[in-house]
Amino acid sequence: MTTPTLTGPNQSVSRATDARVSVRDLRVRYSEAEPLVLDGVDLDLHAGETVALLGSSGSGKSTLMKALTGFAPITSGDVRVGDVDVARLRRGQLRDLRAGVGQVFQQFNLIGRLSVLTNVLTGSLHQAGPVNVFGTFRSADRRRALELLDRVGIAHKAEAEARSLSGGQQQRVAIARALMQNPRVILADEPVASLDPKMSRTVLELLQSIARDEGIPVLVSLHVLPLALAHSDRIVGLRHGEIVVSGRTADLDAEQLAPVYEIDEEAEED
């Protein structure tokens, strides 16, 4: 396994051979009239590691996550999830890709009126096929969903409506839904931005333990530096669509990460 090193924006990143997710020189532009949202991004995600993606609003964190699942257009560069070349996928194939990528969102995105158990079961929809027209899921899937709810510590709420849960509980259900997909990787886009500090720590600890125990790489975008330092194995800092910092969390301190949040006077005046 390649040991990630602290790199600046112009320094090369060695290509890892065992990366579950590999991004090379990724450029993303939503339309011809708009500037690049991501500009030459390189990133590897390895089994069992939690990578914190830092950057201020508009730095390209969400776009990077979207590019990994085909929700954002890949203008140029190479994006691979497992052995799948994301840029070359057609619509039907994108569904197959997404089914293998667990996603956790800031606003949880649960179906509020459905039970917690059903919400977790929706993670297996891709395998369910056209037979479950009436919303039935196989016993094996139900058993696994309950096990996952045990894993995230919320099995006692399995029959409750998702909307009746607190924010932290809902996010744990969302994580169980992502695990239900048997994902190759988990992408968590600001998963704690709507949670209080205590709940934020709980959710991030859960994500990190999942990465470690299940051997799944977890990419988690965050705004809060102390949380990133406490709950990640590696940190990648984005600024204006470019990676400005990348390295092992243990090797980084707040000073080294400062460029990520450096105030851009010109941008502020705009």
């Binding site: 569904r95 179906i111 891709h126």
Partner: protein, 279 residues
């Protein structure tokens, strides 16, 4: 601590136009020109319409005594034919139930095609136009069409109600589905769900309270509507109402009106309870 003045003077911060600031700080604002013009235009259109429609409060005042006389003639209500009234009211209710169920099911199917977040553009326009055409047709005309197709009786009334429902409720169903939160849809796309699964798990469960609420509203409307459809021989209590009016049998007429009011009130209350439970 930074004072408000210091904050205002900070050079790098975008500044609020001082005139806009003054305007916003005033307790009573001078209405904007477009608001004044819009208000005057609205009043002018209303007066123009009232004149065209021969709306005349004076005339109503002069005729109030005739109305009083008409109401007096309806007293006392004649419940001697209560058996007939209840049977016809039951038929009206049954028509409304069948018409509502069929109408809601067909409206739901049509709404899937008329919701912009579900249907492709070509289907969206076909469904929207179909509903517009149905909505433009008066209920009585639809009823007459079905009376001529299947003959007099409640069956024609049910068919009229069913088709009429698509025009009225189909559009609202489609809009309820369009208004759902996008979050769960994104989540279902993210797990690799198919279009059908996204509708089933992310759209319908979110829209369900609205769909149920509007179906109940449709049912209330259909009960009232069924009393009118009888006028063209499409079953229900409507025909009996017309007959009583033609025969100047106002006591019997009033008894029917009271029964209809009771039925509609019960349905209204029951609907309110159900609506409260589902939302």
């Amino acid at each position: 601590m930074t004072t408000l003045e210091e904050t205002r003077r900070r050079p790098s911060q975008p500044q609020l136009d001082p005139r806009a600031r003054d305007r916003m700080e005033r307790a009573f604002r001078i209405p904007r020109a477009r608001f004044v013009i819009g208000g005057v235009a609205a009043v002018a259109i209303f007066l123009w319409s009232a004149n065209g429609a021969q709306f005349d409060f004076l005339k109503l005042g002069e005729g109030a005594s005739n109305m009083g006389e008409f109401i007096t003639r309806m007293f006392p209500p004649d419940f001697s034919k209560i058996g007939t009234i209840l049977l016809l009211l039951l038929e009206t209710l049954q028509m409304a139930i069948v018409g509502t169920v069929l109408g809601a099911v067909l409206s739901l199917v049509m709404a899937f095609g008329a919701a912009s977040n579900i249907a492709p553009a070509w289907l969206y326009y076909i469904c929207r136009w179909t509903m517009n055409i149905i909505r433009a047709l008066p209920d009585l005309v639809i009823a007459l069409m079905f009376v001529s197709a299947v003959g007099l009786g409640p069956f024609a009334g049910i068919l009229a109600m069913t088709i009429g429902s698509i025009g009225s409720i189909g559009k609202i169903f489609a809009e309820a589905m369009e208004a759902v939160d996008r979050g769960p849809i994104t989540a279902m796309q993210a797990v690799g769900a198919s279009k059908r699964q996204i509708i089933q798990y992310a759209i319908v469960p979110q829209a369900l309270p609205m769909l149920t609420s509007y179906t109940l509203l449709l049912f209330e409307g259909n009960v009232r509507g069924a009393t009118i459809l009888g006028l063209v021989g499409a079953g229900g209590i409507g025909l009996e109402l017309t007959t009583a009016m033609n025969r100047y049998d106002y006591g019997h007429l009033f008894a029917m009106v009271i029964c209809i009011i009771v039925l509609v009130t019960i349905i209204d209350q029951a609907s309110a309870i159900i609506r409260k439970k589902i939302t």
